[in-house]
């Protein structure tokens, strides 16, 4: 993988929790990626940004319980717009059974629960982009 990975990362909807998403954004930057941080955005805006930025990966942060409502919307809208290769990662406070459903029928590539090591996130994002190439 010689080219830089581009990640679009956002706080999902009106979620105000910021520390997690800042940490992840910073780690990805340290890992040599271009990280476009959007702040708070709804699915339509996130997908629009993914198009304009030609993102490899979309990262969503959700700690306020909106993951089932808005997370799958992002996946669906990406497909609708023809961005079939863009992988969606979601992190936050997610009940285990929700996480399974998100990774299963809802098509989120990976769901990260609290205490996931940062290196895991970096490695799995890199891997997913390498596989798509």
């Amino acid at each position: 993988m010689d080219r830089k990975i581009k990640v679009v990362i956002a706080k999902l909807g009106l979620d105000i929790h910021w520390r997690g998403v800042y940490l992840v954004a910073q780690y990805l930057k340290e890992a040599g990626m271009d990280v476009v941080y959007l702040g708070n955005k709804f699915p339509a805006e996130i997908v629009e940004a993914a198009i304009e930025e030609d993102a490899d990966v979309v990262g969503l942060s959700s700690l306020c319980g909106n993951h089932l409502a808005l997370g799958p919307m992002v996946v669906d809208m990406l497909k609708e717009k023809g961005l079939n290769n863009v992988k969606v990662f979601l992190g936050g406070v997610i009940p285990l059974d929700h996480a399974k459903r998100l990774e299963g029928i809802y098509g989120i590539h990976r769901v990260y629960l609290p205490e996931t090591p940062m290196q895991t996130i970096v490695d799995e994002i890199s891997e997913s982009v390498r596989d798509a190439a």
Binding site: R3, K4, K6, A25, Q26, L28, K29, E30, A31, G32, M33, D34, V35, V36, Y37, L38, G39, A44, E45, E48, A49, I51, E52, E53, D54, K81, G82, L83
Partner: protein, 326 residues
């Protein structure tokens, strides 16, 4: 995967996804990049280019956001290239300009692209000009280029745009800072943003004084606008200011002269970078450099004369190089 020609055709018709892919190809120095530029370039040149620069945290992105809205209100389509710094150590970048931007894509014709500066020191990235031309060719009528947060001497923006806006704040320094060369000399328009804070009047007076004392012959005196971009104050005046500078450039084909000068500079820079690429890839051998460093370290020769010696040897060898095709 679409073919390059399909992407080019799509982009010229204004398809976002194709445009976005093309920018990536060029930004990454893909092997198709020269072909893309060759096809796109004849379709560019219609748009008006606005540059926005200033120190970090001055409110460049917020001002750009408000300008986008103002331009769209008058039915302009807008392309934005927002550059943020890349790490010189990891190459990574945190591109945060979109945080300040709240475009309603269903109502506005806008394309925003973030770019890492990629170890270039002039405030733009290596391919910012190319990316803005792709947006231009895709039909955007106004292109806004936002630089990284700059200090005093990152002036590339002046070679890439028609109207340069330098955004400062009341905290940007005293009269001495304002008098310094560099950034303050490339402005076509000054903005003192965050003008609701104390000191806005003082700094605008300092700028005015600096301009009054300038001996540079100019027909255009940069206006100074006080704005509070976050509250959308002063944006209408700034908007009008941009177009009055644009109208000024229409006289005596000044816009044409400005752009011709820019092409000349760009061409020179490209020749230099092509040349230095060849120089370091194919001509100068690392071990020769290391040997010279050894001599420099032993104080047998200074770096300037060492470079002259190498260049002298090269020039003797150059005809041979050219005959062999580099």
């Amino acid at each position: 995967m679409q073919s390059i020609d399909q992407l080019i055709e799509g982009s010229l018709k204004g398809e976002k996804l194709s445009t976005s892919r093309l920018i990536s190809l060029v930004e990454r120095g893909n092997k198709h990049a020269p072909y893309v530029l060759e096809k796109i370039f004849p379709h560019s040149g219609e748009a008006y280019y606005i540059g926005v620069t200033g120190p970090p945290g001055a409110g460049k992105s917020t001002a750009v956001d408000r300008l986008i809205a103002r331009l769209c209100k008058n039915n302009f389509s807008v392309g934005v290239i927002a550059v943020d710094p890349s790490s010189p150590f990891t190459g990574g970048a945190l591109l945060g300009d979109r945080v300040r931007m709240h475009v309603k894509h269903d109502k506005m014709d806008v394309f925003i692209r973030s770019m890492g500066s990629d170890r270039v020191m002039g405030g733009l990235s290596r391919t910012t000009k190319e990316a803005s031309r792709i947006l231009d060719a895709s039909g955007k009528q106004v292109i806004i280029v936002e630089t990284v947060g700059v200090g005093q001497s990152e002036l590339d923006i002046a070679e890439a745009t028609d109207t340069v806006i330098v955004i400062l704040t009341p905290e940007s320094g005293d009269s001495i800072q304002i008098m310094k060369a560099g950034l303050m000399e490339i402005a076509d328009i000054f903005v003192v943003n965050k003008a609701d804070r104390p000191g806005a009047k003082d700094i605008s007076l300092s700028i005015q004084g600096m301009l009054d004392r300038s001996l540079r012959k100019r027909d255009w005196t940069p206006p100074i606008f006080l704005t509070t971009a976050s509250l959308n104050k002063g944006i209408d005046e700034l908007y009008e200011g941009i177009w009055s500078h644009s109208r000024y450039l229409q006289q005596d084909s000044m816009l044409e002269k400005r752009r011709r000068t820019q092409f000349k500079l760009e061409l020179r820079n490209r020749i230099e970078s092509e040349f230095s690429h060849i120089l370091w890839q194919d001509i100068i051998e690392e071990k020769n450099i290391d040997n010279l460093v050894q001599e420099i370290w032993a104080r047998k020769i200074d770096p300037q004369n060492a470079a002259r010696r190498i260049m002298g040897e090269l020039i003797e060898e150059l005809p041979g190089w050219l005959q062999r095709g580099g």
